[in-house]
Chain length 433, copies 2
């Protein structure tokens, strides 16, 4: 049966930046089949009154590590190496699938409540993450974050090659493409040429995308150049074919003009994680330069351990204002630029028809309460969405045509059970308390 959402201001996220007042959108199955400015007569399906709210395509969180919700604020206030080696890594060694599932569900719930309908996740215990994604109802490109610490490389002995094969076979394309498995390389600095070649070939052979971390910190970027005769991480990975498939590169903070040209040429999307980059002292990504070079830039939260929350509207606002400030240019990025990064650019980055209100696109839609104090007055819907909205303004999250969150209630996640599982199982396992 079709569903019509009516009585909304629809922000289409089309190239013309159309905002339709008093609009309707019709959804059939998991797709948008119609939309317009006046409610059609004689519609016989289910109707949802948007009550004058703002309807926006669901937000795309294009780089995250969702189980790391367990480490929210854990070890903050230490330098990066201490934080990783004395806090994060020791805890990560204790994970089991059950704990990952609990913490992934908690993280997904937080994202869903703030309007995210699609994610790109990279984490270990990937199968456990996928089970929670499957039941939560959002779309996801999920990857295991391939590492290769030992040489020589043997694909039959490398743990992540085995994981990659199993994930692809069991999960890729499930639920009519809602769930996709990406190939992945955690980073140039945590692997070697053997894995790069194997993953690049595997992705090409199986029609997968690629997810990597790229030039997040200056240390990582410079160390790569030292190891590889002055070549940057982007150049090194490109040489090994890693970017010959649809690919997303998280961070790109220290990328160079040559890297921007390379990423544009290869069609690699840069995933900007402004909160994480600031908090961890990584720097400010050259988003304006990347865009000027023709690179598709999308937005991510990174893991909650380095954010420390996933109110995606907060990340969107920071993306919208940060470039202006550091470049001393109030027009460096506009509200529309930031909204595109959070929606349609994310869809493009993940190879999905999501992030726009358009016929044939996924019915990933969120509704915001226009009566919320922080959205009054509304001189311009885009400005309010980019600079003033909070995740708490989201009153409905429809993912692939299915309402999964409404007025504070989760319809696909038993949040009380999840909280109990986190407090009663995951936290004692990970933190001994």
């Amino acid at each position: 049966m079709s569903t019509m959402i009516y009585n909304v201001t629809a922000v289409l996220m089309d190239p013309a930046h159309t905002v339709l007042p008093n609009a309707y959108v019709v959804v059939d199955g998991h797709q948008i089949v119609d939309f317009g400015a006046q409610r059609p007569q004689g519609f016989t399906g289910k109707c949802i009154d948007g009550k004058g709210g703002i309807l926006l395509p669901g937000l795309v969180n294009a780089h995250t590590h969702v189980p790391m919700t367990a480490m929210r604020g854990y070890g903050d206030g230490n330098n990066l190496q201490d934080w990783l080696h004395n806090f994060i890594f020791p805890v990560e060694a204790k994970w089991d699938d059950r704990a990952v599932r609990a913490c992934a569900a908690l993280g997904l719930a937080e994202m869903i409540a703030s309007g995210v309908t699609c994610i790109a996740d990279m984490y270990m215990h990937t199968d456990a993450v996928l089970r929670e994604v499957e039941s939560a109802g959002i779309s996801a490109n999920v990857s295991c974050g391939g590492v290769q610490f030992e040489e020589p490389f043997d694909p039959d002995k490398n743990h992540d090659c085995a994981v990659q094969r199993a994930l692809t076979e069991q999960w890729h394309g499930r639920d009519d493409g809602r769930i996709r498995v990406d190939a992945s390389i955690h980073g140039e600095y945590t692997s070697h040429a053997g894995l790069w070649d194997w993953m690049a070939q595997y992705a090409a052979d199986h029609g997968l995308g690629m997810h990597v971390h790229l030039s997040e910190t200056q240390t990582e970027h410079e160390a790569c150049k030292s190891r590889h005769g002055g070549k940057t991480p982007a150049a090194v990975l490109a040489e090994h074919g890693v970017f010959d498939v649809r690919a997303i590169a998280a961070h790109c903070v220290w990328t160079t003009p040559e890297d921007w040209a390379l990423l544009a040429e290869k069609g690699v999307s840069a995933i900007h994680n402004p909160v994480s980059n600031l908090k961890l002292g990584s720097g400010v990504a050259p988003v304006v330069d990347l865009k000027k070079a023709g690179v598709n830039v999308a937005l991510g939260t990174d893991g909650v351990s380095s954010n420390n929350c996933t109110d995606f509207f907060g990340d969107l606002k920071l993306a919208a204002i940060l470039q202006n400030g550091v470049r001393c240019d109030p027009l460096a990025l506009t509200a529309w630029d930031a909204l595109e990064m959070a929606t349609v650019n994310g869809g493009k980055a993940l190879g999905r028809k999501t992030g726009r209100i358009e016929k044939g696109y996924e019915a990933d839609l969120i509704l915001l309460d226009s009566e919320a104090l922080n959205l009054i007055p509304c001189h311009d819907a885009a400005n309010n969405l980019a600079y003033a909205a909070h995740g708490s303004n989201v009153v409905m999250n429809m993912a692939r045509g299915k309402v999964i969150y409404k007025n504070g209630e989760f319809l696909t996640i038993d949040i009380d059970r999840v909280k109990k599982e986190v407090a009663g199982y995951a936290l004692p396992l990970l933190f001994g308390r």
Copy 2:
């Protein structure tokens, strides 16, 4: 009658950074009279069960222009001069007291809902702002933003001198000091020596504080140096005695090492407005340097027209992470540094005993729901407050001992009436629609 709030994790904001689990706080009149780690027996006053929430001193928004809530998102996407001259100033010329009251009430409600209990406001139609502050119940240092466009200066003809005299007489110290009037100079670039001398003397004579904008943009800073033989705005205003009283200087983005030493010597507090500074392309204030020089740094939202909301936890988070990012130092500022800027430093800046849970301090207290998804888990209360909390987590706002907001309900503001007044009166007056 005394009130006890119990069953809370109390973040005292004392120099030792004490976090008291299972704590209580007793309030009598408008002050905190007791607090501790175990609920005392035999208490006979009113009891409020904090239900395991986090109790924090109320947040201090130390620089704002609250009626500008009316211009939320208005003219965004234009350069600074176009924005001011084609959007903001023409609208400001249309204000009347009634419209200011409606928009001030809307802005105060938004702040109260996100945990603000004390503000420093600077705006025209100041009497109208003060009326709304009075009924809302929060504390405020209010100023008119003195300007002097014409020379020669005549205090009997300058509009803002008359306003200053009237405000001081009618409002300063009202409600046992809850409402204070500050002297003010909008900025070096909007006034001349006559007003500086007069305001400095007036403030000294009447025991008032001083509120100024200082070196917000590079243009403003450099133009001052051109006009005044290389002297910065801080140096120029200091020469005229403007900083010989307790003073707050908003922005300080382009202040120099000499300015930092001067501000520290004079005891001037710098008010950091990170969202506004980024959004308007003003730059990034040298907060770490100001702190190192011994300057008290507090936090403000600036007007909603340049923010574009007042979820003060969002501003707090940006303050906490921005310096780390631009200095590539994950320890440039800590969670505690940011929390201090938002609470106790703000109290100090405004000459008030607020921003700490301590006997004899104002009973300005906010309670956050620790069961909110974005606050789970809680490894460290300060980290969660600085990096993960949202305004929407605030379930109670107690200002000067009186609960003014609880579970989404305003107890001192008729929010439906305010919304009607904004939509039915203020917006038509200001925007002709």
